[in-house]
C-alpha cells in the first residue's frame, strides 16, 4: 500500500514538473497567415504586417521575448497613428475661432481640410466625441477637452489597438505562433502532465481505504503542507501565480491551452480558450479530491452525499452542459450559477446574448432570475444556505474538495469575525450598486449612474472582486488562510444567502445537552472560522449567517455534541441550556 502511495506521489510530482516545464517548451514564430487569421480588420492586419516586417518568421526562444515584440509593435503602431490622426494645436485654435460664433459641419470641414483620410477621420471623430458642441458656440476649453479625448482614446481604439484588443490579440497571437512538441502532440502532453497528476493523485489517495473509517486528522498540524509550512506557502504561491496568469497575462499560458485544444474541439467544436483549460482543471481537481473526501469521510453518509453532489454539479452543470450548449449553437449558460456570485448575469452583453437566442435564451434569463428571487429564499428557509454553498456551488465545491486539507487554517478570532462582516456585506453592497448602474446604462444608454461611470464600475468589480478576490486570493490563499477565504470574506451570494439563513430559516446546529468537553475540534475544523465551541460549551444553538453547513464540526466532535438540524423555527434562538444540575437556570 505504501508503495502504491509513493508511486502515486512520484507520478503526480512528475506530471506537475512537466506541466510547469512545458511553459518553456515552445518557440514562437509570427507569420502573415497568423496575423490575417487572428485580426478581423483588414487595414489593421496590413498595418501590423508592415510594422512587424523584421519580426515575421523570426524564431523567438521564449514567450517573454515574443510578447515584448508584440507589445513594441502595438505601441509603435499606436504612436504612428496618434501622430498621424491627432488634432493639433493649430486646428484647435482655428476651431476656437469658429466656435466663438457657431461650430457647425462647415466649420469642421474648413478646419479639417483637404478632404483626405486623415481629415475625414478627424471630422467623424469630432462629431462622435464632441457632437454636443455642434450647432452652437463653443469655448476654447470645451474644444480642447474634446480634442484631448480624441487624441487620448479615439485614435487608439479606432485606428490603433486599445488595451482590450491588445490583451486578446496577445494571447491569441502567442497561442497561434507557438511552435514545438506541445503543438505537435497536444494529447501526449496532456496525458504526461494533467493526466499523470490525476492518476498519481488517485493512486496516492486510494490507499487511505486501508485506514479504518472514522476521523483521521493525525499529524495535520505537524504537516508542512497543512500547517502553512514551506510546502503550503509554495503551493499558495503557485496558485496565486497561476491565477494572475489566467486573469491578467493569459499570453504566457498558451502552451497549457494548446494541450486541451483537442478536448475542447470534441466538446464544443472550437479551439480551447483559457477558461476552457481552467474549467477542465477545476473539474478534475474537484473530482480527484472529491474521491479523497469520499474515502476520508466514508463513515458519514452526510459528507459522502454532499461530496457526490458537488462533484456532480461541477462536472455536469458548470463544465459539460455549457460546452455542449455551445456545440448546439446555444448561449453558454451555467444553470446553477446565481447572481451576484455570477456578477455579469445582468451585463448588457449577457442580456443581449440571451434575449437574442430565442425561447431557450428567454428561459435561461427567467431561470437565472427565478434562482435569485425564489430558489435562494425558499431553499434557505427549508435547508439553510448549505443547499447551495456546500452541495451545489462551484467555489464551494473546490473549497470542500481541493481545499479540505486546509480547512483548519481559518482564523477563529472575534476580530476576524468583525472584519468578515464588514467585508462580505461591503462586497454585497458593491455588487448591487454595480449591477444597478449596469442596468441603468442598459435601459437608458447613459453611462453615468448617479456619480459613477457604470463601465468603469463593472471593470473595477470584474478585476478586483471577480478575478482578484474570488480567484487570486480566494484560491491562492487556501494554504494560508483556509479554504473558504472568498466564501467567508467576499462572496456576495454567500452574504445574501447568509442574511436569509440568519433571520428566516429552519436550519440550525444544535448541541447535545451537557456533553461538550470544550476540546476545540469543532472550532478548529470550521472552515468558515466560526468558534463553534463558544456555543457548544454553553449549550446554545449555532445560528450564524456564515455557516455553510458542511457538517464537519459534527463529524469531528468526539462526544456526539453537534448536529445539523432543520425543524420548526420556534426555539431556534433559545436560551443557552447546559443539562446537568438540578438548579433551575444559570445565566451565562
Amino acid at each position: 500500500m505504501q508503495a502504491i502511495k509513493t508511486f502515486g506521489l512520484v507520478l503526480f510530482i512528475g506530471g506537475f514538473i512537466l506541466f510547469n516545464g512545458i511553459f518553456f517548451l515552445s518557440t514562437y514564430r509570427l507569420t502573415t497567415e497568423i496575423i490575417r487569421a487572428k485580426m478581423n480588420d483588414q487595414e489593421k492586419q496590413e498595418l501590423f504586417i508592415s510594422k512587424s516586417k523584421e519580426s515575421l518568421s523570426h524564431d523567438y526562444g521564449n514567450s517573454f521575448e515574443y510578447v515584448v515584440m508584440l507589445d513594441q509593435t502595438f505601441e509603435a503602431i499606436n504612436k504612428d497613428q496618434i501622430l498621424k490622426f491627432s488634432i493639433n494645436e493649430n486646428e484647435i485654435n482655428q476651431l476656437t475661432g469658429k466656435g466663438k460664433t457657431k461650430l457647425d459641419q462647415a466649420a469642421l470641414e474648413s478646419v479639417f481640410s483637404p478632404e483626405n483620410e486623415t481629415n475625414l477621420f478627424k471630422r467623424k471623430t469630432f462629431n462622435d466625441w464632441g457632437g454636443y458642441l455642434i450647432g452652437q458656440s463653443a469655448t476654447s476649453d470645451q474644444i480642447k477637452d474634446v480634442a484631448q479625448k480624441i487624441n487620448q482614446y479615439a485614435i487608439v481604439s479606432n485606428v490603433g489597438f486599445d488595451r482590450y484588443v491588445v490583451k486578446d490579440l496577445k494571447s491569441s497571437l502567442t497561442k497561434a505562433s507557438s511552435v514545438g512538441p506541445v503543438k505537435n502532440q497536444p494529447l501526449t502532453f496532456l496525458f504526461l502532465t494533467i493526466g499523470l497528476c490525476v492518476i498519481g493523485g488517485l493512486l496516492y489517495i486510494l490507499p487511505k481505504l486501508n485506514l479504518a473509517p472514522g476521523i483521521k486528522n493525525n499529524g495535520i498540524f505537524h504537516n508542512v503542507m497543512k500547517n502553512t509550512g514551506w510546502l503550503g506557502i509554495l503551493t499558495g504561491t503557485w496558485l496565486i501565480v497561476f491565477y494572475i496568469l489566467l486573469y491578467f497575462y493569459p499570453e504566457y499560458m498558451t502552451n497549457w491551452i494548446i494541450m486541451v485544444d483537442p478536448v475542447s474541439l470534441v466538446l464544443n467544436g472550437n479551439e480551447a480558450s483559457r477558461f476552457f483549460l481552467y474549467g477542465l482543471m477545476y473539474t478534475l481537481c474537484i473530482l480527484v479530491m472529491g474521491v479523497r473526501m469520499l474515502i476520508h469521510y466514508r463513515h458519514s453518509k452526510y459528507q459522502m452525499l454532499r461530496t457526490v453532489s458537488v462533484m456532480f454539479f461541477q462536472t455536469a452543470f458548470a463544465f459539460l452542459i455549457p460546452e455542449i450548449l455551445i456545440r448546439l449553437n446555444q448561449p453558454y449558460f451555467d444553470f446553477k450559477n446565481i447572481w451576484p456570485l455570477d456578477y455579469d448575469f445582468f451585463f448588457d452583453s449577457e442580456l443581449d446574448k440571451l434575449i437574442s437566442s430565442g425561447t431557450i435564451g428567454i428561459f435561461m434569463l427567467g431561470w437565472g432570475i427565478a434562482l435569485i428571487i425564489i430558489a435562494v429564499p425558499v431553499f434557505v428557509y427549508f435547508f439553510g444556505k448549505r443547499w447551495y454553498c456546500s452541495w451545489v456551488c462551484g467555489c464551494g465545491g473546490l473549497a470542500e474538495t481541493l481545499g479540505d486539507p486546509y480547512r483548519q487554517l481559518s482564523n477563529k478570532t472575534l476580530k476576524a469575525w468583525k472584519v468578515e462582516r464588514w467585508m462580505i456585506h461591503g462586497v454585497l453592497a458593491f455588487s448591487v450598486l454595480m449591477t444597478a448602474a449596469v442596468l441603468y446604462t442598459y435601459w437608458t444608454g447613459a453611462s453615468w449612474f448617479i456619480f459613477v461611470d457604470s463601465y468603469q464600475l463593472r471593470s473595477i468589480y470584474g478585476a478586483w472582486i471577480g478575478a482578484g478576490f474570488a480567484g487570486v486570493v480566494g484560491t491562492g490563499f487556501y494554504p494560508i488562510m483556509g479554504n473558504r477565504v472568498w466564501c467567508r470574506f467576499g462572496c456576495p451570494l454567500a452574504a445574501y444567502l447568509g442574511l436569509i439563513q440568519r433571520f428566516k430559516s429552519r436550519f440550525r446546529i444544535t448541541t447535545n445537552g451537557g456533553q461538550c468537553i470544550s476540546c476545540g475540534n469543532c472550532s478548529t475544523y470550521c472552515e468558515m472560522g466560526i468558534d463553534v465551541r463558544w456555543y457548544a460549551q454553553r449549550g446554545e444553538n449555532i445560528v450564524r449567517s456564515s455557516c455553510v453547513g458542511c457538517g464537519v464540526c459534527s463529524s469531528v466532535c468526539p462526544r456526539g455534541v453537534l448536529n445539523l438540524e432543520v425543524k420548526d423555527e420556534k426555539g431556534r434562538f433559545g436560551e443557552p441550556i447546559l443539562i446537568g444540575n438540578n438548579i433551575t437556570k444559570i445565566n451565562h
Partner: protein, 438 residues
C-alpha cells in the same frame, strides 16, 4: 451580598474557570485564579489531540486571551505551596503571599503510581497535565515500542496517541476485557475487539510487576506473568487521585480528597472545594464520592458560584451522564448501567451486525422504571434521557420513543426498527409499538 470580596480560586481547569466565569456574571467581586500549570484555561480533554496533530495548544483554549482581562478575572501563574487558613492567605512558590476573603480549591488530580520498582525511570510517566504532554513529546521521539499499563480512558487515549506516531503499543489490562470494571461484558468485549482491530497488542488479565532500565532510562517491563517486554516508554494510566498534598497542615479536612458537605463547603469557614479534588461526605444515590469527570467539575463550578454570590445552593447533580471515544467508536451513557446487573434489574442489549454499534438499556424488574443506557456508535439526545430519567419513565416508553432520542447526523442509517423488533422478541410480555419521532 454586594459587599466586595476577593475570591481566590486555586486551579484553572474546568471547575475553577466555570466558578470564576459564573461569579463574574453574578457579582462584582475581585476574582483571582492561580494555576501552576498554564497561563490560560485550556481543555484538558484535548491533550491527546495536540499530540496527535489534530490541534495545536492554542486551539484547546476555549476563550481568547483577551477574555480574562475584559471580564476582570485576574490570572496568576504560580504554585500554591501552603494555605494559611488562620490569616486567610496563600503562600506561593514565588515567595509572594495572596490573601483571600473566600477560597475555592479546584486543584484537580494527580496520576496514580503504585510504587512499582523502576517507576521513576526516565520514559515512565502518566498523562494528566500539559507538562506530562511535553514530557511525552520528548520521551517518545524516535521510539519504536511502548507499554501502557491500566485499562481506563486515559490508557486507551494514550494508545491512540502513540499509534498516531506509528509506535507499537502493548497494552496491559488487569481486567478480563477492556474497562470491564465499568462496562458490562458485552460493551467491554465490543471495545476490546475494536482495540485489537487497531493492532494494539492487548494483554488482558495482565499486570505490571516491575520496570527495568539502563542508565536511568526504561528498557523493558516485566509482567505479573513473568514475561519481559522490551520497550522505550511506559505509560502509567492506572487512575488519578485528588491533588491535595499542599493542604497538609492547613487545617482543612481531607481523606482521599478534600472533604465537603452538600454546599461544597470544607470544615474551614470561607474555604470551598470543587471538581476532581473533592470527596463528598454525604451520599448521592448511585454515585461515587469522588467523581473525576469534566462534567461534574463544571457543575460544581456553577453551583459554587451561586453560593459565593449569595444564593446558597446545594450541589445536586441530575441524572448521571458521561461520554468518551474509543478510537473510532463514540460512547455515551445516560443514567447508570452497572458492569454487573444488580439483582433487581433487567437489561436489553442490541448490537449491530458490524459489531461496532450497540445499545444497552437497564430497568427495574418490578417497577419497569428505566435506569440507564449505554450507547456505542449511535449518538443519542441528552435532553431526552435526562427528561425520561427524571420523570421515571418505564422501559416500554423509552423503547417506544427511541427514534426521538436519535442524534445521529442526517442520512445516517437508523436502527430503531431493528432494536424495537429485537426488544419485542426478547420481551414478549412488554411488547411496544414504535412512536415516530416528533
Amino acid at each position: 451580598m454586594n459587599n466586595h470580596q476577593h475570591i481566590v480560586i486555586i486551579g484553572n481547569g474546568i471547575s475553577g474557570i466555570t466558578a470564576a466565569r459564573h461569579i463574574r456574571k453574578h457579582s462584582d467581586h475581585s476574582i483571582t485564579v492561580i494555576s501552576g500549570e498554564s497561563d490560560h484555561f485550556y481543555s484538558r480533554t484535548a491533550l491527546m489531540y495536540i499530540y496527535m496533530g489534530h490541534m495545536k495548544y492554542e486551539h484547546t483554549k476555549p476563550y481568547e486571551d483577551w477574555f480574562w482581562k475584559k471580564n476582570r478575572i485576574n490570572l496568576v501563574r504560580d504554585l500554591v505551596t501552603k494555605v494559611n487558613t488562620a490569616d486567610k492567605s496563600l503562600s506561593l512558590q514565588s515567595g509572594t503571599n495572596i490573601s483571600y476573603d473566600k477560597l475555592i480549591i479546584a486543584t484537580g488530580s494527580v496520576s496514580n503510581k503504585f510504587n512499582w520498582p523502576g517507576q521513576e525511570l526516565s520514559g515512565v510517566q502518566g498523562l494528566y497535565s500539559l507538562q506530562d504532554l511535553e514530557s511525552m513529546e520528548k520521551n517518545t521521539v524516535g521510539i519504536k515500542h511502548a507499554v501502557i499499563v491500566g485499562g481506563g480512558l486515559i490508557g486507551i487515549e494514550m494508545a491512540e496517541m502513540l499509534l498516531s506516531r506509528k509506535i507499537k503499543v502493548t497494552f496491559l489490562v488487569r481486567e478480563e476485557s477492556f474497562w470491564s470494571n465499568v462496562l458490562p461484558r458485552e460493551e467491554a468485549e465490543l471495545i476490546t475487539r475494536h482495540i485489537q482491530s487497531h493492532h494494539v497488542d492487548l494483554r488482558l488479565q495482565t499486570e505490571l510487576k516491575e520496570i527495568t532500565g539502563e542508565n536511568g532510562t526504561v528498557t523493558s517491563i516485566v509482567t505479573n506473568k513473568g514475561e519481559k517486554i522490551d520497550c522505550e516508554f511506559v505509560g502509567l494510566t492506572v487512575g488519578v487521585s485528588p491533588n491535595i498534598s499542599f493542604l497538609n497542615g492547613s487545617g482543612i479536612n481531607t481523606k482521599r480528597g478534600v472533604l465537603v458537605n452538600k454546599y461544597l463547603e470544607t470544615n474551614v469557614e470561607d474555604v470551598y472545594a470543587i471538581g476532581d479534588c473533592v470527596e463528598r461526605t454525604y451520599e448521592l444515590a448511585g454515585r461515587r464520592n469522588i467523581e473525576q469527570v469534566w462534567y461534574t467539575g463544571r457543575m460544581m463550578g456553577e453551583v459554587i458560584a451561586q453560593t459565593i454570590c449569595g444564593n446558597k445552593t446545594e450541589y445536586n447533580p441530575g441524572p448521571w451522564f458521561n461520554s468518551a471515544k474509543f478510537f473510532d467508536i463514540e460512547y455515551q451513557t445516560y443514567g447508570v448501567v452497572h458492569n454487573t446487573l444488580p439483582e433487581n434489574e433487567t437489561d436489553f442489549y442490541w448490537e449491530h451486525e458490524n459489531g461496532m454499534k450497540c445499545i444497552h438499556l437497564v430497568w427495574n424488574k418490578t417497577s419497569k422504571e428505566f435506569k440507564g443506557i449505554n450507547t456505542f456508535g449511535i449518538r443519542m439526545r441528552h435532553v431526552c434521557f435526562d427528561k425520561w430519567l427524571r420523570k421515571k419513565r418505564d422501559i416500554q416508553y423509552v423503547i417506544e420513543h427511541l427514534k426521538e432520542a436519535n442524534f445521529d447526523p442526517e442520512f445516517f442509517v437508523r436502527h430503531e426498527d431493528e432494536m424495537v423488533a429485537s426488544f419485542n422478541q426478547k420481551f414478549p410480555n412488554l411488547v411496544v409499538t414504535e412512536k415516530a419521532s416528533s
